[in-house]
């Protein structure tokens, strides 16, 4: 009897777990996809962080034998690739998914199905890339995968790079298209473009940049794919190809990519600084102008990554000037943030600390950026630790600080619980000081001549002190991240419940609804009367937004497993191609057949999705009224 009851309990528990897993796999709700992106991106952020620590252990002392040669190259390549494509990008999409529909007063995104597909493609692409550790070694050609090194000399690791990035790149492109259409078409009544919160603006521009920048990456990766797996000659000089073309294609994608990363961070900083200064954002329209201008200019500067290739003085001069002009709109933004804080009632919450810490840090990265934009000087800095310091100041000090500000700021809206502020401030100080300790000395290491991507240096080259400080700083940042993880666990278990207007001084629409947001977001679509719509209503003495429609049934999309299955079938195809690759001769037939099966399954699923009629479902008025009452 007891055994029977026990087995029943176990089975119901198991069913419970499977049911839970099933809801996450099949979800098309943008708020749940945001959480998936946050944890997917967070997982890869931790993996990339561990790789960074391994690098810093190797470089802490001269002549170290901890990670040598190809192993070091693999860890370094995977650190860069993981952090850019698998940590920063999805964390930005996490913020966009969590916040954008709420900020523009929409009930959902434009294409929930595509949104889910985008997430699963990114996640499985990341898994494909990381399985390389277990199948003959990770890619070792640097995150830039320059040819002909990457296509002809590095073996099977690069196949994982090519196909993993192809998958996750497709996911990113889909996410961007979804957000473009969402922001353009689904704004609430009265939410004109010039009333949108700045995070929506920067996300709009970022999505447009993704739309134009990722196709070159896709094409370039296909070229490498054909070179590597079918022995084509796009980059093979001996057979008439040209390796420089890859550099061009990669940076035509790669330079917009860094703005794709940093613009949403600018948006987050603008929201956080304005909210916690209790002031309207200073110079809103100039911020919008600067954002659009940065987006436009980002396509005209790619050659500054290639000054030392020898493209000639005219090309170098033109692209140097174009690069320096980007400092102007960026400067506009910096001053606008400072003026927003000026005279404001500044609240030093963790989110705001990260935002304020971001400003000087990003300015330092920007200054070294202008230094690098001068071609004669760049000939000295190129491929040294000076460059490493520069891009970590802008990407870690810019993007990651922005993302952490966003995580602390919107965590209550995403999960309904506040993160602990004391632990948050410990995280901030460890992370901030650790960051500067890690990367500030690297400027000098670079100026003293330490080349990037080398796995060791000799004693007596005066690199010891800088590298030791740098490694200590890296562990400081690791402590900060561990405290953040503890914070998350502790507050999830017994944190303070968040109110709708979690910080009490929220300005934008997302704070006008319950935390976490109900499935349908807004019971009634709000009527927007100006910038900082919710603040305006509060100042007029209202507790809630003025509704733009009567209460009614809300139409929702049904959950579906097809996006997940589609991503799985493309993963199968990727593995097929990876194992078809044969350095010596013709590709293996077995692998090609597997790939064909994967692609066939994908086409089949596309057919099923087009034929199957899915009208979604309605949440009824009574149900909505009940949920709204409970939330109060």
């Amino acid at each position: 009897m007891t055994t029977h009851a026990q087995s029943l309990a176990v089975s119901s528990q198991r069913k419970g777990f499977l049911h839970w897993l099933w809801t996450w796999i099949t979800t098309v709700d943008h708020k749940k996809i945001a959480i998936l992106y946050l944890f997917g991106g967070g997982l890869f952020f931790l993996i990339g962080g561990i790789e960074a620590l391994l690098i810093r252990i190797q470089l802490a002392v001269p002549n170290n034998h901890f990670l040598v040669g190809s192993e070091y190259n693999q860890v370094m390549t995977m650190h860069g690739t993981t952090m850019i494509f698998l940590a920063a990008m999805p964390l930005i999409f996490a913020m966009m998914n969590a916040v954008i529909p709420l900020q523009i007063g929409a009930r959902d995104v434009a294409f929930p199905f595509v949104n889910a597909l985008g997430f699963w493609l990114f996640f499985l692409g990341g898994i494909v890339l990381n399985t390389s550790w277990f199948f003959g070694g990770a890619p070792a050609g640097g995150w830039t995968a320059y040819t002909p090194l990457a296509t002809e000399y590095l073996g099977s690791g690069m196949d994982f790079y090519i196909l993993g990035l192809q998958l996750s790149g497709a996911g990113t492109l889909m996410g961007a298209i979804n957000f473009l259409v969402t922001i353009i078409n689904m704004r609430a009544p009265g939410m004109t473009f010039m009333r949108m919160p700045l995070f929506c603006w920067t996300s709009l521009v970022t999505s447009a940049l993704i739309l134009f920048a990722f196709p070159p990456l896709t094409v370039g990766l296909f070229f490498e794919f054909f070179d590597h797996i079918f022995h084509a000659n796009f980059f093979n000089t001996a057979n008439g190809g040209n390796g420089i073309i890859w550099e061009h294609i990669f940076w035509i994608f790669g330079h917009p990519e860094v703005y794709i990363l940093v613009l949403p961070a600018f948006g987050i900083i603008s929201e956080v600084v304005a909210t916690f200064s209790k002031k309207r954002l200073f110079g809103y329209s100039s911020m919008v102008f600067a954002t659009v201008l940065i987006g436009f200019l980002s396509f005209m500067v790619w050659v500054h990554h290639m000054f030392t290739v020898g493209l000639g003085p005219v090309a170098n001069a033109v692209f140097a000037i174009a690069t320096m002009t980007i400092a102007v709109p960026t400067g506009i933004k910096i001053f606008n943030w400072l003026f927003t804080m000026w005279g404001g009632q500044i609240h030093f919450t963790t989110a705001n600390l990260f935002a304020i810490g971001f400003i000087p840090t990003f300015v330092m990265g920007g200054v070294t950026g202008v230094m690098l934009a001068v071609p004669p000087a760049d000939a000295q800095y190129h491929d040294s630790y000076f460059v490493v310091a520069h891009f970590h100041y802008v990407i870690l000090g810019g993007v990651v600080f922005g993302l952490l500000a966003g995580v602390f700021y919107w965590w209550p809206k995403m999960f309904g619980r506040m993160l602990n502020e004391t632990l948050g401030k410990i995280t901030f100080w460890f992370f901030f000081l650790g960051f500067h300790l890690t990367f500030f000395p690297q400027h000098f290491l670079g100026l003293m001549g330490m080349p990037r991507r080398y796995f060791t240096y000799l004693p007596g080259e005066h690199f010891e002190l800088g590298n030791m400080l740098s490694s200590i700083g890296a562990f400081g940042m690791a402590v900060g991240v561990i405290v953040l993880l503890i914070n998350i666990v502790v507050t999830t278990a017994k944190g303070k419940r968040a109110k709708g207007d979690a910080w009490g001084i929220g300005r934008t629409l997302e704070w006008s609804i319950a935390s976490p947001a109900p499935e349908y977001n807004f019971a009634q679509t709000p009527l927007v009367k100006g910038i900082d719509a919710f603040w305006k209503e509060k100042m007029a003495g209202n507790k809630k937004m003025t509704p733009a429609e009567p209460l009614g049934d809300v139409h929702m999309p049904s959950p579906t497993v097809i996006p997940f299955l589609m991503s799985l079938s493309l993963t199968l195809a990727s593995f097929g191609f990876i194992f078809a690759a044969n350095q010596a001769g013709k590709p293996h037939t077995g692998g090609l057949i597997t790939a064909a099966i994967g692609i066939g399954l994908m086409l089949l699923l596309m057919l099923i999705h087009s034929i199957k009629d899915d009208h979604g479902f309605h949440i009824h008025k009574e149900e909505i009224m009940r949920i709204e009452k409970e939330a109060e």
Binding site: I184, A208, L211, F212, N242, I244, I245, H248, I252, F299, M300, V303, G310, L311, G312, V314, A315, V318
Partner: protein, 108 residues
Amino acid sequence: MALTSKDQVAEYVAKQRRRQELLHYLVTFASMIVFTVLAFIAVALRKDINDYLIAFFIVTMAVVQVAFQLYYFMHMKEKDHGFPALFIYGGALVVFVTVLAFVTMIWI
């Protein structure tokens, strides 16, 4: 037919508009075929005409055909197509600048 009621007027206008549209389709379709034939003729006369002139001629007609395709067959001439137009021209501008950089000052 006398146009007495409002409905009849509306129906008449809609019908005329449809006819007008059909005419547009036919004219653009015919001119696109003519352009294609001209392109082949230009190549056939390669011995007598300068190669660059032929290339310029063909590319110009290609651009016109793309415009026809977008505006007449894909409805960009109609209302509420501002954003598609913005993104198409934005993308075209980015590509143009990139290609311009390659052909004028960069050694690939």
